[in-house]
């Protein structure tokens, strides 16, 4: 799969790291706790421990319809969320039973917390954090298909890795959440525009503390995430629910425990049918862009109303043609 190969290219470091580089990256891996609000992966923690109490907050029936806006509050000016799949067409035409899809969730236009990119050091203002949670539910509100993290592999035995570089499974694999921070990559054999050449920094006489600070200052809010979903071997529809937050990086409390104000939120609710099995009035909507927006619920309702209206007109016209 193209998306999957791109992922592997982006995250792999083909050269073995020197010991000090490894230490620096271990420190970097610990950066999230230094930098902000609990990750979306903390949702699985009990509510009285700062998590979501087991709710996924995607607006699905398993969360009492609670969604991102139950906590995160703010406006959404100008932002947009996009979904894509590889193989393509999952959100346009539906799923092919048994097929594994690499799904991309992307904040097309991040509007919150941009001023916090590069401020992710201890004692600084805080990090720019974004995130999402998604789940696929069958008719009985049970998980449909099999989720897997971006670095995992799906087999007959299931997903071999709940925790990836970009996404993490939680609530026993029922839902997937996005890692909120974009860590800088150490440059491997090829220098890219967004990697940090630690070896060159060492040769330039930078101390380990200076390099640590530089690494932490390069942490940004993540705006795209991949995960895998294997469609169920079913001929019935699957409900897809997704909630995403474009965080503002916070303005109060402490850098370690940020706030829920000033964030932009997104909701996507889709009924996915096996390809070719969508009801006629749903198929008319298949050309719709798989984009979630702050007003996606309203847009979805409008779209549904419009397609239902069109379907009624077509049915009426068909009846008139059949019975002139």
């Amino acid at each position: 799969m193209k998306a999957r190969r791109a992922l592997q290219r982006g995250s792999a470091n083909p050269r073995p790291m020197a010991g000090h580089q490894a230490k620096l990256l271990v420190l970097l891996a610990a950066a999230p706790w230094l930098c902000g609000f609990s990750s979306v992966s903390m949702f699985e923690a009990a509510a009285d421990h700062g998590g979501g109490g087991g709710y996924t907050f995607v607006g699905s029936p398993t969360s009492h319809d609670l969604d991102c806006t139950s906590c995160h509050q703010g406006s959404t000016a100008g932002g947009q969320l996009a979904l894509a799949s590889d193989p393509p067409g999952l959100f346009e035409r539906g799923f092919v039973p048994g097929t594994t899809y690499a799904i991309l969730v992307r904040l097309v236009a991040e509007v919150r917390g941009l001023d916090r990119n590069g401020t992710c050091q201890p004692d600084a203002g805080g990090c720019n954090r974004n995130g999402f949670v998604a789940e696929f539910l069958g008719g009985n509100h049970q998980p449909a298909g099999q989720l897997c993290s971006d670095t995992g592999q799906l087999s007959e035995q299931g997903c071999d890795s709940d925790s990836g570089a970009e996404t993490t499974l939680f609530t026993g694999g029922r839902a997937v959440s996005g890692v909120s921070l974009q860590q800088p990559q150490a440059c491997g054999g090829n220098l890219t525009s967004d990697c940090i050449d630690i070896q060159a920094l060492i040769q330039a006489g930078k101390t380990q503390d200076e390099i640590n600070q530089l690494l932490l200052a390069s942490v940004k809010g993540r705006t795209s995430w991949h995960f895998l979903w294997k469609a169920p071997l079913t001929t019935t529809a699957v409900a897809f629910h997704l909630g995403a937050v474009d965080g503002d990086g916070g303005t109060q409390v402490t850098p370690e425990h940020n706030d829920y104000f000033g964030d932009a939120t997104y909701s996507v609710h889709r009924t996915l049918y096996p390809e070719g099995m969508a009801p006629a009035d749903q198929q008319a909507a298949c050309g719709a862009s798989p984009v979630g927006s702050p007003s996606s619920a309203h847009a979805g309702a409008l779209l549904a109303a419009a397609t239902a209206w069109l379907a009624r007109i077509f049915r009426r016209r068909s009846r008139q043609e059949a019975n002139p």
Partner: protein, 128 residues
């Protein structure tokens, strides 16, 4: 009680909000600022490292206790308490709560029963 209130009621758009008659404090949500400072100071570093929010202080738990207790009128049946009949689905005999506000779909829900027996005076010893 507290874990149930934290899980079901304490979201900032719900009762983790000073605009509500019933106000519920919870980690990661609405806190008393001065108590949050104390809570942070006493939080084990490994908990902070793991991403946990500091637990409520004794004063904050007292606050929640007083808030929950205020939902009962002495002498009236506890079933009439908004702490019970608001989160219970209308179809199960409850009152309208909010859009998507059917927290308990049945009066047999374990958390609902826990709230009920607490309001009726049960203490921890009765839960063993």
């Amino acid at each position: 009680m507290q874990p149930i209130l934290a899980k079901e009621c304490s979201m900032p758009a719900c009762h983790g909000n000073t605009a509500r008659r019933l106000q519920v404090l919870a980690p990661g949500r609405m806190r008393i600022a001065a108590e949050m400072v104390k809570a942070l100071a006493s939080q084990p570093p490994e908990d902070r490292q793991a991403g946990y929010h500091p637990q409520l202080t004794a004063a904050e738990i007292d606050f929640n206790f007083a808030q929950a207790r205020s939902m009962v009128v002495p002498g009236q049946p506890v079933a009439d308490s908004p702490l019970l009949n608001r989160p219970l689905a209308v179809s199960a005999g409850g009152m309208y709560h909010a859009a998507g506000g059917d927290i308990f779909t049945s009066a047999m829900d374990l958390d609902y029963v826990t709230l009920q027996v607490w309001l009726e005076g049960a203490g921890p010893e009765m839960c063993k």
